[in-house]
Symmetry: C2
Subunit: 114 residues, 2 copies
Amino acid sequence: MKKSNPTDCSSAIIPVRDALDVISGKWKILILISITHGNKRFTEIQKSVPKITAKVLSKELKDLEEHLLIERKIIDDYPVRIEYSATPHSQTLSKLVKELQDWGVKHRAKIIGK
Amino acid sequence: MKKSNPTDCSSAIIPVRDALDVISGKWKILILISITHGNKRFTEIQKSVPKITAKVLSKELKDLEEHLLIERKIIDDYPVRIEYSATPHSQTLSKLVKELQDWGVKHRAKIIGK
DNA sequence: TTAATCACTAACCTTTAGGTAACTACTATC
DNA sequence: GATAGTAGTTACCTAAAGGTTAGTGATTAA
């Protein structure tokens, strides 16, 4: 019997794996979209991302900060506020997010239109 | 106290949510990459995607088929073979996959180079 | 005085994703 | 006859993700 020799595609798979490790999950991209659209405060972000809970948002913000995609600033007046902002590094994701958005529209049309 | 008025970004968030529902998870994009690189058989795909188990591959292939991203063909000779292939619809993901790959490379450089 | 806002955290629970090992039925090779 | 490959499935289990509820301590608006 023939042995199957798989085509090697690790040059594509390894970087994609790296990217997915950082941005996969239900929420990270959505939070990033909200912040780049100008939402800075915890509750603003929470309101703008449908169905997210405070606990999950809190955790995801920490993850995003760790991966250098957002910044957390404490604004020290009365009362103390906290503001989140997108880092320059997160802007390297903009094309990816746009593709995701376009594809979502396309896929929905495909599924509904059949 | 000021009420926070979140910027509305649902026009971006909703399509991205749709896209993520279909392609998020650890494996789907990687399997799609393997198939578009020419791997057709179950075991070829399994060998080309690091660490995936037969059970997970089997389930993910079914999901991808349901979402019209791959096709499953039964080749009826001795012995019966099964071949998976990418659909035209899955090709609409190619730019997205490329972006993911590029970003993975960029992000790795950023993390290591700091 | 009461209630609400802000930015969370803790304790607890459920759901989903994913992993392990064994097994099937057929074919092919040593 | 033994072993290995093919394309999975089944049962069982763990880990990770995510959800629910409540609460904190400060401020402020009605």
